[in-house]
């Protein structure tokens, strides 16, 4: 792999950039691999990378029906945080956070992980109870966080309306300084390049059309480019997980919903942190290019159309203008939608399935991007050892039968 560095960049400039190597190969599928990963988004690519790097399993194919990182990796609002309420969820996301903190160097790819802090606002007394509960739990779990007063909030975000005149005045916030944003596409590309360098075959435009299953055990997949065999198959297909599960003959406790986001035109820097409000329902940050990136709510119906309903956008911008009256004259450039696969408890599934050798990693809802390295790391371990990683164990499908849900809906509201 060609190492990237500032010096290398200068050297390539002198040769008019004509000698850059491909970041990954475009291989022909082999007949057989040790492990097949279905889904070439951030989670799938991370899984392949850690399989090769940490477990020495390099004979791995990532099967992607479109282009690498083309699903929710390309469509999210890039927020990274780990201040989840429940121990199980917090542990998983904090595991991811620690990997984020060294990811650019590990991958030799600058994923522009920017720890500019994430603020979750509270507008009601119950919001504040929930915030205190979560921050206290985070602290005892070793996750950074504090509760801010409106005055402290105003100091960090001077442009926000923290007055008592607001319809839902800001009463306080939780604040995780280590949280922030990352460059979403670069995450997929960085994992892809690093996995490819370790020998992983990244098969784009390759669509799984079925599973090869015999005696309750998976031994490969059918694709539009022929059959590919492997004794271990990990599905990391986000919104399409339900469709894959159906192919394998079972159902999942999942629904795929549209989740919309939008950006403003680029503005000179005006907002240096990430601000989220569940109560008035909008979240916002500003990219290094200057766009305000704004997340909207999930539409309530199932949808694979990568678009949602317009009133959701209206409500979101009403919330943004309510919090930031100065943005009224700022203009929305573009909106889009992703497909989020959501579980009833707003937590993921990292689990074996009724089919032996077939594992699913899905149901991340709105939390997928922030978990990317952690999800891949834990899932690689699970695939390599054919056994749930301790951090993955609470997220098995079984919990929907026993009732042991990890209910992030409960007190943390919608888990963005």
């Amino acid at each position: 792999m060609q190492r990237y560095s500032g010096f290398g960049l200068a050297k390539h400039a002198l040769s008019h950039h004509e000698n850059w190597e491909r970041q990954w190969r475009n291989p022909t599928p082999k007949k057989q691999y040790d492990v097949i990963i279905v889904g070439g988004g951030g989670h799938g690519l991370a899984t392949a990378y850690y399989l090769a790097k940490e477990h020495g399993i390099k004979n791995v194919a990532v099967v992607e029906k479109g282009w690498l990182g083309g699903g929710n990796t390309a469509r999210n609002t890039t927020i990274v945080r780990s201040n989840y309420l429940w121990d199980e969820a917090a542990a998983l996301y904090e595991h991811a956070m620690k990997l984020w903190e060294g990811l650019s160097q590990d991958l030799n790819y600058n994923v522009m992980f920017s720890q500019r802090g994430v603020m979750n606002l509270g507008h009601t007394l119950q919001d504040m109870r929930d915030i205190q509960r979560r921050v206290n739990a985070n602290r005892l779990n070793g996750i950074d966080g504090e509760v801010l007063t409106p005055e402290q909030i105003q100091e960090i975000v001077p442009i926000m309306d923290c007055s008592k005149n607001a319809r839902y005045p800001i009463l306080g916030a939780s604040w995780q300084p280590r949280a922030g944003v990352a460059r979403h596409d670069a995450v997929a590309w960085g994992f892809a390049r690093a996995a490819d360098a370790l020998g992983v075959d990244l098969l784009q435009n390759t669509e799984v059309t079925g599973f090869k299953i015999r005696d309750g055990r998976v031994y490969g997949v059918h694709t539009n480019r022929g059959d590919i065999e492997a004794k271990t198959v990990g599905c990391v297909a986000a919104g399409n997980s339900g469709v894959l599960a159906k192919m394998a003959g079972f159902r999942l406790p999942l629904e795929s919903h549209p989740l919309q986001a939008l950006v403003s035109e680029p503005l000179k820097p005006v907002l240096d942190t990430v601000v989220m409000s569940n109560h008035v329902h909008g979240y916002i940050s500003q990219t290094d290019k200057g766009d305000l990136v704004i997340g909207a709510g999930i539409d309530g119906y199932n949808g694979y159309g990568q678009r949602g309903s317009y009133p959701t956008i209206e409500h979101t911008l009403q919330a943004i203008v309510e919090m930031f009256p100065i943005f009224s004259r700022v203009r929305m450039n573009r909106q889009w939608g992703g497909i989020v696969d959501t579980c009833p408890d707003a937590c993921p599934i990292l689990s074996a399935t009724p089919v032996k050798g077939l594992f699913f990693n899905c149901g991340w809802g709105t939390g997928g991007f922030k978990a990317t390295p952690g999800s891949g790391h834990v899932f690689a371990w699970t695939l390599a050892k054919n056994q749930a990683h301790p951090l993955a164990a609470p997220f098995s499908i079984d919990r929907f039968h026993t009732g042991a849900l990890v209910d992030e809906h409960g007190a943390a509201g919608v888990a963005h």
């Binding site: 059918h222 339900g242 539409d299 694979y304 039968h401």
Partner: protein, 130 residues
Amino acid sequence: MFHIYCPYCEEHREEEEFRPKGQAHIVRPKDPEACSDEEWGDYLFFRDNPRGIHHEMWVHAVGCRKFFNVTRNTVTYEILETYKMGERPRITAESLASGEIQGNVQVAGGGQQTVGASNAAVEAVKGEQA
């Protein structure tokens, strides 16, 4: 934003008047105490999540407050029919796949009906069954 035909109000109304309520035709087990934990969990949480034809329940929340069913394509968002609680769909993935769309279909006009939607739906279904 969807334009939904309420089978009780007998009119198309804006989506803002409605709330989606998840998969339709989920029946509570008649004897819950006889269910295993697994069966009860299936009833509570496990859902079809099809890419294509989906039967779902909506409520006309700002309107007649009646629950009703919608057959909708989850990819094109085309609404193929709406029907009252207690009725069965006339259009299903299977009926589209076999080309047998039963007569007297209450198709909600004015919805976004993709040119060749039926064919697309058929393809989607066939793809899934392969």
